[in-house]
Subunit: 142 residues, 4 copies
Amino acid sequence: MTDFVHRRQFTIAWSHCDPAGIAFNSRFFEFFDWGTWMLFEAALGVKPPDLAAAFGIVGLPLVDAGATFMAPARFGDVVDQTSRVSDFRRSSFDVEHRLAIRGEVAVEGRETRVWAGRDPADPSRMKAKAIPEDVIARFRPQ
Amino acid sequence: MTDFVHRRQFTIAWSHCDPAGIAFNSRFFEFFDWGTWMLFEAALGVKPPDLAAAFGIVGLPLVDAGATFMAPARFGDVVDQTSRVSDFRRSSFDVEHRLAIRGEVAVEGRETRVWAGRDPADPSRMKAKAIPEDVIARFRPQ
Amino acid sequence: MTDFVHRRQFTIAWSHCDPAGIAFNSRFFEFFDWGTWMLFEAALGVKPPDLAAAFGIVGLPLVDAGATFMAPARFGDVVDQTSRVSDFRRSSFDVEHRLAIRGEVAVEGRETRVWAGRDPADPSRMKAKAIPEDVIARFRPQ
Amino acid sequence: MTDFVHRRQFTIAWSHCDPAGIAFNSRFFEFFDWGTWMLFEAALGVKPPDLAAAFGIVGLPLVDAGATFMAPARFGDVVDQTSRVSDFRRSSFDVEHRLAIRGEVAVEGRETRVWAGRDPADPSRMKAKAIPEDVIARFRPQ
């Protein structure tokens, strides 16, 4: 577990909610995605649209995502989201997102992403690259 | 009014609907967008992802959009959408979308789009181009 | 034009953007909707999920919406949104939304909504009600 | 593994895609949700908005969801989705979704859902109920 954590707070909007009056499941994957972008901005000091150019990559494509829904998030609920990298491997990493409402965890999310550059053999495709050590170091406790 | 009309039918999904149990307004603008792509495919015989290359444009950027909501569209409702170009101008055009449920018009949509190429002075920007006569002809009654 | 204005600031996320790299048009109608909820919370001092019960209504159904797109909103752009009621009528009202990026207006939105209660003749339907004078007064300059 | 499979085909729309030109991950969870509704309609012969009333439940709330992304889904790609219940337990079940493009699996999805009624002790809450045997039987090979 790395120790760098990004926290943000947001409110469940009417447009997030389904006829059951709760945030529809796909919305959480948007919340996770945005949490990851902001986590990387906070850790690396690079704005999301500049991340790829700053590190010579194409992006951080998602290869696996999941969520466990423990309690509903209703219209107007204030959500406290914490996002952290739980594991760095050679060229991929896992991000954990925890969304709490009134102090109770409502949703846990997990993403596996790849540090991806262009494939030298075919520039229209992406290829996993080794994550630089100094990138990983920014997520570690000081 | 040009006479080429594209018709499609689809069903209102759970994920389209808000806590009032009806399709949330922003979803209709997705339905309009898809209607326009399919209208152009039907009229011009070019698949949506190939449209730009086939006509030497960058795309059909939207400059104005609107909708009038006459009746709600509920989860499970079958929608009959008709889309047509209502006006072609030199480099822009209007698309009208009509969404009917059980034979009654529920939503009317309108889009104004531009026939846009790259700006020769600044390739990162778009610039309106004249719509080719043979494109317009494909939307006219035979 | 009433004088009560709600301002909020947010950032264009990756998930808002389409293959042209700009926020997809339907997303703006979500931004408008949320602006209206927050405008009413600010003016009336009632949280969005409590609005209907506090005023004996079912909601503020949208009957017309539109947007004019003057400039693209790109991934990472910081948006300053101002929302205000531009006209109150007996039982409906218009909301104007202005979204500016780096000081320039990028998108203008407009919504027409109804102050709606249950139809006494058919509780499954909504019916326009007169907007209370003290509601309107909260949007007026002091 | 139960043997009842629902198949549907759809096309990746412009509005589904992100700046990388591929369908954004959260969209797949909408595709999974719709696949589940249609699978139940096909197996049980009940339209989605009538499902809850027909079986005396409140709904099929999602408690866990996940996806593995093997290949990108691009604008205009035709997707063949198959959905099936992979496991029925006393009051919950798993749904598997497989999305193939040009014959290759691009995305695999998994959902765990609950057969949920109202909690007799608190009608504002849901409570897991035993899935009727005749419901399960409809998903079994004949």
